[in-house]
Symmetry: C2
Subunit: 135 residues, 2 copies
């Protein structure tokens, strides 16, 4: 059983590395948020650039404080509602530090038992110029 | 030690899930390739759509056979050379099944000791238009 656990551990360590490399290589901005706490668990470089904050300063913060015009509890509740409802549109907000209008696309999931929300954050002008799928 | 290993195992299982959710949520097309074998280890839905192949049919295939005009050994070597050299441009190719001109941006890394290449595959027309969405 010990051997099997160690073998699994090796496999899982590979996902850890793949996760990191993928989050750095994607051009989309992503933030992982704890559903209960509303706090940022991880953010990729594209998200840090879009929000105008260092990763170390972002992790642990309430995600709501990175956006204007939304109270903390209401913000996380709005993310959750949209994450549950596939027909709901993105959440419109403004990145507080960079004053960038954004659209937030949340996905709810569970990792190691804890409910999390993955937020893809798209700057509005890039979406308009790219003519992509958001409407 | 057993307890610590199990605790680590829980943490690592979380990265497994985060990896999967992130790879599905990103609009960029990504393929993981084994450096030695040249075979596809994983691909996200955006990559499957761009290459016109089901994930289950793609995994295990030589990555070179998804692109035209490149021999297998030469293709993986070209990916490797670009992955090592940050000043090198992307690799130009054509997706064989969908006849889509693409640019491949490789990143070399090691996971659990095995050398891997992460390839971001951008369709050329979308890149020119300034967006990154296909269809």
């Amino acid at each position: 059983a010990q051997m099997a656990l160690e073998r699994d551990y090796e496999t899982q360590r590979e996902y850890d590395t793949r996760y990191r490399v993928l989050s750095e290589a994607t051009r989309d901005a992503f933030v992982f948020v704890g559903t209960k706490s509303g706090r940022v668990i991880d953010a990729n470089p594209a998200a840090c650039a879009l929000l105008g904050v260092a990763r170390s300063d972002l992790i642990g913060n309430a995600v709501a404080q990175e956006f204007d015009g939304r109270r903390r509890a209401e913000f996380v509740e709005a993310l959750n509602l949209r994450a549950m409802d596939e027909t709901a549109g993105p959440l419109e907000a403004e990145a507080r530090r960079t004053r960038t209008p954004v659209r937030i696309m949340p996905t709810a999931f569970r990792a190691a038992g804890e409910p999390l929300i993955l937020c893809r954050i798209d700057p509005v002008e890039a979406a308009a110029a790219g003519g992509n799928e958001m409407t």
